[in-house]
């Protein structure tokens, strides 16, 4: 599991945005910060849910 986030915090309406592991079009449109935040959230989710990772493979 990653201990430290590489991505910048994304704010939505002034509050930290809870990045969904499945991503969103809005995140992709943010470019570098969106892609990093999405991939980190997804990887964290897969770390916590190894069955999903197997299924994904």
């Amino acid at each position: 599991m990653k201990n430290k986030s590489n991505s910048k915090k994304i704010l939505y309406g002034g509050k930290p945005y809870n990045v969904p592991p499945g991503g969103s079009l809005g995140l992709l449109a943010l470019g570098n910060i969106g892609v990093r935040a999405w991939k980190e959230s997804r990887d964290n989710y897969l770390e916590k849910n190894p069955i999903q990772r197997e299924e994904k493979k």
Partner: protein
């Protein structure tokens, strides 16, 4: 030292105003709208052939494809195979090389083609960076090396590689904004969804890299190119509302939102880019061509290489906003060739005189001071070099080739054994595009030479054969054109209707308009909705002054395509020739409203206003035309006439001086109704050793190619006989003196009856009507010309006075 303002150039392949304007009106593209509201917008003209790698290279160099060397979608790889078009074949400097020479830092992302990257001052990430692997390797997301020579400097690879998004990472919830019912579908069931994932992944990667470089690197100029709108449009525009009969209702319901979704996503990406720059940064958003989204969408795609280009519309988008740029205005007359000269002007750098484009000065507030150099090619400074590559990593190339095959741009290519014929075919295809590039610049001789070289009668290709015939007609090689039409007819590679249209063009070119019209009308019965055919027919009717027939043709075009500026222009000409000036003005304005950069429409509007004695309006219009067509002598003659009438002595002197410099000389034209008097006049001149140019040709109804603007240059002599019906085709490069032999139409009818071995006094009402019509048309033309010197002669014994 003065701070250098940044420039951000965003390329959206295929972006089209029709879709954008609809979405902006619905509030769905706020970022682009904010740019337009505080900047300028306009249409940008594409070039033939409208193929993206050629166009984006023209955009980055300011030069036409036959100068820059990038042709088509693929190129020989030097090892007996082919590869996707690359930066290796570009023969001239791109804007990023020029900026490197000037010490200006650039980020270049995704430009097509830009692999291998160049060691410029700044960073470059090529169009192969986002490319995944092909076939079964595609499925192995973890084994996805960065494409060779796709990143400069290479030290950035580690920083950028994880920003790539693989198509298999695109989950269904990311697709749902494009296909709302996607969650009800099994993704594997539908190839269209896989393709959509790929387009979205590529766009996301390009955008992620662009934002990363803009955020982490020092830069003065960033250029980012997205091909996704083009790919989305080729894949899904057929499902765009309204549904057409041949589209399945089920498919329509599933995919009707995809194109809108793609545009909205691009606007969201643009919003992020705009959030990263300050107010002093100039932003330009541009596309290379448009995309038909309405009734002009083709029902089927020709099964030939680059066939999908039939879906491209001739005008793309141009938007610019920044310091010194006008606000809230439309600009006109932009071409893809103008982008680099305009960028150089914005950055106060010199424009190469060898560039084919021009700086778009109309975008600037006030007068923009422009600098020029002979050529950037001769500047002896370091501009960057292609990254050395062993070319041994072919996986990304193969995937890129596969994508081109999937999109229908190239035929499937068997590499290696057995593929050599196909490779030759691809090289031939590129030469075909080279020929097209020459022809679109008016170099028909060069184009014809290439076409004749690549044409292979054992494998007849209707596109090459068609272009040969058209180039042969344009270069007056009618026998060659006829020879190829006969071959095409025999080889049966083109329909009879198309062949008849070609035959008609030859007949019109050979001074047999009525035969041409007859053929065109025959084809029209079979193809009643053909806009091109109706336009051709309307033009011919206008040329022979058949106003009502011309109007009928153009009105039929407008029924089908109400925004067709050329049809309005045709109507304007028909009214002008019939001296119906008010209607002519209305139609010319209709044309200009729809296509502002339409110089001849402005010219005829100015002429019409002058004939209506609206002198100031005519002067204003013609002064504008002068800036659009600075080499057209006729405009200066009109302006001289108008300044004389309005007693503006200074301008009169000025224009007299200009005309004396630019006119090639004076031609004396003799003409009149073709009766006994005219023949006697010509004989009398010949007997006095006055050389009559052209008389033999015309009396024998031989070829007189008035379609060629230089036709008069071929005829020398003291006096040139020109039949009255061709006055409209006289080139304005010369000054003319007319000697007009006056004769009575009835007597001419008697004379012509005699020539046709009829009883001399036979009453021939049709002939008489034609003669009266011809005389009326000529007098009308005389009245509509500026600064004409006309001598009317009733008694040919007085001819000596004038010759």
């Amino acid at each position: 030292m003065k701070k250098r303002n940044k420039v951000l150039l965003v390329g959206w392949d295929s972006a089209d105003w029709k879709v954008i304007d609809k979405l902006m009106a619905q509030g769905k593209m706020p970022a682009l709208k904010s740019l337009i509201d505080s900047g300028v917008r306009g249409k940008i003209a594409t070039m033939d052939p409208p193929l993206s790698p050629m166009l984006w290279t023209s955009m980055a160099t300011g030069k036409r494809p036959f100068k820059h060397g990038v042709l088509g979608f693929v190129e020989p790889d030097g090892q007996g195979g082919i590869r996707p078009v690359s930066s290796r074949y570009r023969k001239v400097k791109a804007v990023w090389n020029m900026l490197t020479m000037e010490g200006i830092k650039s980020n270049i992302v995704g430009w097509w083609p830009s692999n291998p990257v160049e060691s410029i001052n700044g960073c470059m990430v090529s169009n192969l960076f986002q490319q995944e692997k092909k076939g079964s390797e595609l499925l192995d997301v973890s084994n996805w090396p960065v494409a060779e020579a796709s990143v400069y400097p290479e030290s950035l690879i580690d920083q950028l590689k994880d920003l790539r998004v693989h198509p298999l990472e695109i989950s269904l919830n990311l697709i749902s904004p494009f296909v709302p019912d996607v969650l009800k579908m099994e993704r594997q069931e539908d190839q269209k969804l896989m393709i959509l994932s790929k387009f979205l992944a590529h766009a996301t990667t390009v955008h992620a890299v662009a934002t990363e470089l803009m955020e982490t690197q020092e830069w003065d100029f960033t250029a980012v190119y997205h091909d996704a709108l083009d790919h989305f449009s080729h894949g899904y525009m057929r499902f765009y509302p309204p549904r057409r009969e041949h589209v399945e209702k089920e498919d329509y319901d599933l995919y009707k939102n995809v194109v809108d979704g793609a545009y909205i996503f691009h606007d969201m990406m643009l919003e992020r880019l705009l959030g990263m720059i300050d107010n002093d940064t100039t932003v330009i958003v541009v596309s290379d061509h448009g995309f038909h989204s309405d009734h002009l969408r083709p029902i089927s795609i020709p099964k030939v290489p680059s066939g999908p280009a039939i879906e491209h519309a001739p005008y793309g988008i141009f938007v610019a906003k920044g310091p010194g740029i006008k606000k809230g205005e439309q600009i006109f007359g932009a071409s893809v060739l103008d982008v680099t000269p305009t960028l150089l002007a914005i950055m106060d750098l010199p424009i190469g005189k060898d560039m084919d484009g021009k700086p778009l000065t109309s975008i600037f507030e006030g007068e923009k001071e422009l600098k020029y150099i002979e050529s950037w090619e001769n500047v002896d400074k370091y501009g960057g070099e292609l990254l050395d590559t062993a070319n041994n990593q072919t996986s990304n190339n193969e995937a890129a080739l596969q994508q081109l095959i999937d999109l229908g741009y190239i035929d499937d290519v068997a590499q290696g054994e057995g593929g050599s014929d196909q490779i030759k075919a691809q090289i031939k295809e590129n030469n075909f595009y080279l020929a097209k590039s020459y022809a679109s610049a008016g170099f028909n001789e060069e184009s014809l030479e290439i076409l004749l070289e690549i044409e292979d009668k054992s494998k007849p290709d209707y596109r090459i054969l068609t272009d040969i015939v058209n180039c042969a007609i344009r270069t007056k090689r009618y026998n060659l054109a006829k020879e190829y039409i006969a071959f095409i007819r025999k080889a049966k590679v083109l329909g009879e209707n198309q062949l008849d249209i070609m035959e008609a063009k030859i007949q019109i070119g050979m001074n047999q308009p009525m035969e041409g019209i007859q053929l065109l009308n025959k084809v029209l019965k079979e193809m009643p909705d053909s806009i091109d055919l109706l336009m051709d027919l309307g033009r011919v009717y206008n040329a022979i002054q058949k106003k009502q027939n011309a109007l009928d043709c153009f009105n039929r075009v407008l029924n089908y395509d109400p925004e067709n500026a050329y049809a309005y222009y045709g109507k304007g000409l028909a009214y002008l020739r019939a001296e119906d000036y008010e209607n002519a003005v209305e139609e010319f304005l209709n044309a200009i409203e729809r296509l502002y950069h339409f110089p001849v429409a402005h010219l005829h509007l100015g002429e019409t206003l002058a004939l209506m004695k609206e002198y100031q309006a005519a002067i204003d219009t013609l002064e504008l035309v002068r800036t659009m067509m600075p080499r057209v002598t006729k405009i200066y003659r009109w302006l001289l006439d108008l300044y004389e009438v309005t007693e503006n002595e200074q301008k009169t002197r000025e224009y007299k001086a200009i005309l004396s410099k630019i006119q090639l000389g004076t031609k004396t034209i003799i003409s009149g109704l073709p009766g006994e008097k005219l023949f006697q006049a010509l004989e009398s001149l010949s007997n006095k050793n006055v050389h009559i140019g052209n008389s033999k040709d015309v009396f024998n109804s031989q070829v007189l190619n008035v379609m060629n603007p230089d036709w008069l240059s071929e005829y020398t002599g003291d006096v040139i006989y020109v039949p009255m019906q061709y006055f409209g085709a006289l080139n304005a490069k010369f000054e003319y003196k007319f000697i007009f032999i006056k004769d009575e139409p009835e007597q001419v009818m008697d004379y012509m009856n005699g020539l046709m071995k009829m009883r001399k006094s036979s009453f021939n009402p049709e002939l008489l009507a034609d003669l009266l019509n011809l005389e009326k048309g000529t007098m009308s033309w005389f009245n509509q010309q500026p600064n004409l010197d006309i001598s009317y002669i009733n008694d040919i014994r007085k001819l000596d006075v004038f010759v």
